[in-house]
Structure formats: C-alpha cells, structure tokens
C-alpha cells in the first residue's frame, strides 16, 4: 500500500482499523522523541502545516488551537466548513483528548497518545463515537475527517 512512511518504509506504516462498533483507530510511528511529535500536534503554526495534506487541494483559512484543558480549537476551510471542539485532556508529551463538536451530539471524542520507545514515537489516534449509529452515519455520509469531498467521490464510486 502507499501508506508506507517515506523515511523508513515498512515500519512506519499508517494503519487504520475499526476496533469496534464505536471506535476507529489510526496508528503510525515517527522517528523522533515524543516531545517533538507532541509539539507538532499542539503548536498551531506547526499543526496547520500538516493537518491538511497538500495533495488534497483544500485551503485551511484559519487554525486556532488553545491547547489546554477546557481550551477550544477551530479550523476553518476555504469552502466555509468549520471543525471545532474542546480539549478535555492535555498531558504533554503523551496524551491529547478533544471533542468534535461540529457534528452535534454525534461527534466523536478523539484521543491521541504518544508512546516513546527507543527514540521513536508511536502515535495512536482513537476516535470514540457516542453510538454505533453515530459512527455508521459518519462513514455513510463521508463526514469522518475533514475531507468530505473525498468521501463523496467514494460514495459515487460505490453507487456506480
């Protein structure tokens, strides 16, 4: 698959798994200590450089992250779509938890853990939905993640 890391193909693979009715889990290992990877997730000027991959052709108009417990974040895209929520756990450099509030009560809670081992950091992104239906709906509507256009194309593909 094309998911291999560039620097160390094979070991730095991105994996995605639906762990249960309500959970999606993404993992990837980075060749750097946790404090560096954590910085890239919590400093807005760094975060905005990678959260929207260039290849997706979307513009992130603004990116405000107030990374502390109870602090909020807000990402606004060129198309007007906004993603926002609240940080409910900030434990540098090992753990970040935030809510996804743009979807109302059906939004997931995202937990990101950073586990350092031998100078490398395993990042685990865990999305927990309030119910099976909420995750199924997110999948079916293609609203998981910030790239609904991609999933609309996929929808079209599945229907054809």
């Amino acid at each position: 698959m094309a998911a291999n890391g560039k620097s160390d193909p094979g070991t730095n693979r991105t994996t995605v798994e639906r762990k249960s009715d309500r959970e999606l889990v993404v993992t990837r290992t980075f060749n750097a200590p946790a404090r560096i990877v954590f910085d890239a997730w919590t400093k807005p000027e760094l975060f905005r450089r990678w959260w929207v991959p260039k290849s997706f052709g979307l513009t992130l108009v603004s990116c405000e992250l107030d990374v502390r417990v109870g602090g909020t974040y807000r990402l606004v895209f060129g198309q007007g779509a906004a993603f926002f929520g609240r940080y409910i756990d900030v434990t540098p450099p090992s753990r970040l938890v935030w809510t996804n509030d743009e979807g109302g009560d059906d939004g997931a809670v995202t937990t990101v853990t950073f586990e350092e081992r031998d100078g490398k950091t395993l990042v685990v992104v865990h999305d927990l939905y309030p119910s099976k239906e909420a995750l199924d709906d997110a999948i079916a509507s293609g609203s998981t993640g910030a790239f609904s256009e991609q999933f609309e194309e996929l929808d079209a593909l599945l229907v054809s």
Binding site: A3, G5, T14, D21, I36, P53, F56, A140, D155
Partner: protein
Amino acid sequence: MVQYITARLDASFAALSDATRRGILEQLGRADTSITELANKFHMTLTGMKKHVGVLEQAGLVATEKIGRVRTCKLGPRRLAEETAWIAAYRLLWASRFDELDQIVEELKQKEKSDGRKRKK
C-alpha cells in the same frame, strides 16, 4: 441508495466485529473450506460455526454451496470491496497527513540538533 449502502455497511461491520469471523474470511481468502473443516480449525462445534458462517453470509461476505453432503464456504461476491474502499480512503487521508507530519518532525529534529550544537560551542 445511501440507505442501502448504510444497511450493507451495518451488516458487514457487525459481521467483522468478531475475531473468529475475521479469521474465517482470512482462511477463505486462502482456499474454499467446508464448514466441518472450519469448525475443526477454529475449535468450535459445527452448530457454532454454522452461526458464524450465517452472519457472514447475511452480510454478503461469504457464499456457501452444498455439494453432496458437504457445505463448502467461499468468499462472497462482494468480498470486502466496499469496506476496503472506505477504509482505504480514510487511510489515504491519514497517510498523507502523517507523511507531511514526518517532514515537519524531521525539521524540528534537525533544528533541535543544530541548536544543541550551538549551545555546546
């Protein structure tokens, strides 16, 4: 149409939520297998295995055919195409994201290194 897809995804993901059933699909990916063989392989009663195969069959992931007295299972016509496509799109997003993150992490590492050198001088 969307509802139709949702219902199918429901059935598929429910079927895949069980480790034995995922194991069955893996096995069938290698070769068609009879229910009796599957029951033996997974240390399960015939009745238990029939139930698992039933769930997979309902989801369209497995097809069965009775030849003589033996019921043989194989991967269904749909296989995992839809789920795989969805997961693949989702993985593509995260893989691209993480490739960019990789570059930034590399940059930060270099910066830390050169700052460290500067401090030592």
